[in-house]
Symmetry: C2
Subunit: 228 residues, 2 copies
């Protein structure tokens, strides 16, 4: 295809997009409408254009395949097992990002029959080595939450302490003791308690919090140890 001639044939990008919704950690997958591995679910991915920087390429691919636009993705690793892709040798560079699904419309696009969020407890068998790439990204996320604050991109602007605990629990796959978790969390001075309370709940309304952006960014730069 003429369209393919401006793409590097040995090198692709695949994106692991994490979202947090209904107290679950999810990833964004699409169903392939093209060979190889037609009909399989896969990480959003594609080939790099010859005149494209890697970050721009990752953004373009994610948008084309899933409609998700304007997010900052970070490189995680290149995956290059000799037989990871059928017929030809393709090495892929993995990218990842954390987003709040509520802020984005999913629109299956180029080469996609469908695109949707999957709870990480129910990830299907994916194309190529995509299960491995996803697990690699999950592992990075699990390490990261112990060294730097997360949540800013994943949570709504105002949230309860229960919600942020659910986020950590969903990422780490562990249940925490409520009192212990809150004590450790509040000790970091990362949160600002708001005068408002939760609205529209049947039970007793909980306090709402937001991140202290200054401290959040400081801790993000300097790192910390959240001893969960």
């Amino acid at each position: 295809m003429a369209e393919e001639s401006n793409k590097l044939q040995e090198l692709s990008i695949d994106c692991v997009i994490f979202g947090f919704e209904d107290h679950q950690l999810k990833i964004l997958l699409y169903q392939r409408a093209i060979e190889p591995e037609m009909d399989q679910w896969a990480l959003p991915g594609g080939f790099i254009k010859i005149d494209e920087d890697l970050d721009r390429s990752a953004s373009r691919i994610l948008k084309e395949v899933t409609g998700v636009n304007n997010i900052y993705m970070q490189q995680i690793n290149a995956f290059g097992a000799v037989n990871r892709y059928p017929q030809k040798r393709v090495i892929t560079i993995g990218f990842y990002a954390l987003i709040n699904p509520g802020n984005y419309n999913i629109v299956p696009g180029v080469g996609a029959k469908a695109a949707q969020w999957f709870d990480i407890a129910q990830i299907p068998v994916l194309s190529f080595d995509h299960n491995e790439i996803y697990l690699y990204a999950l592992n990075i996320l699990r390490k990261k939450v112990r060294y730097e604050p997360i949540g800013f991109e994943l949570l709504p602007e105002k949230f309860t302490l229960t919600l942020i605990q659910r986020l950590y629990e969903a990422v780490l796959g562990i249940e925490f003791d409520v009192r212990n978790f809150r004590k450790k969390l509040l000790k970091m001075n990362l949160l600002i308690k708001l005068p408002e309370k939760q609205e529209g709940v049947a039970h007793r309304a909980a306090n709402l919090y937001k991140f202290d952006k200054k401290i959040y960014n400081e801790l993000k730069g300097k790192g910390f140890m959240f001893d969960l």
Copy 2:
């Protein structure tokens, strides 16, 4: 060239090898004997063979160019700015490692006029975007020393507290107060004090230490915060 036909033409590997010697942090460079950028100093690098996994490719390339063999390298990042390489589009995957230079012979090989260690205070202008790749790796190393123990691969088996302080100072480019540094270091229980003392020194012989391998590996897995 026939030899080139079994190599991926769009994708290379470059290696940032850190060593610690004479109280200095160093990296291993080679002088190019081939175009492009003939005669320039560069990070040891080359193209990936079509039937080679990435780790094996990195090891082969490092050995061919510099003679350094049998070291474990870790991927850091792919570098793919559109014009990073002349004439064609080449994306490179950076690898890095920490070694003790005393344990290895440098033998300039394929495509190399020379190969040697350079003190990081005196890194020349390197080929392509290699200064950027080196700085990226240095930055990773600087973050890493705050989160996990280092030194095992860089120091002799038995070392003085002064030597390990010099290592941290060389990596971070900071001078530490002796008492403070030792207090923080010893608090981690990472070191075992040996009955022997330093030999062959004019001044008063200092105590020798070695790493407690079990704790070293535990901390490496779990991570810590060395608040330097």
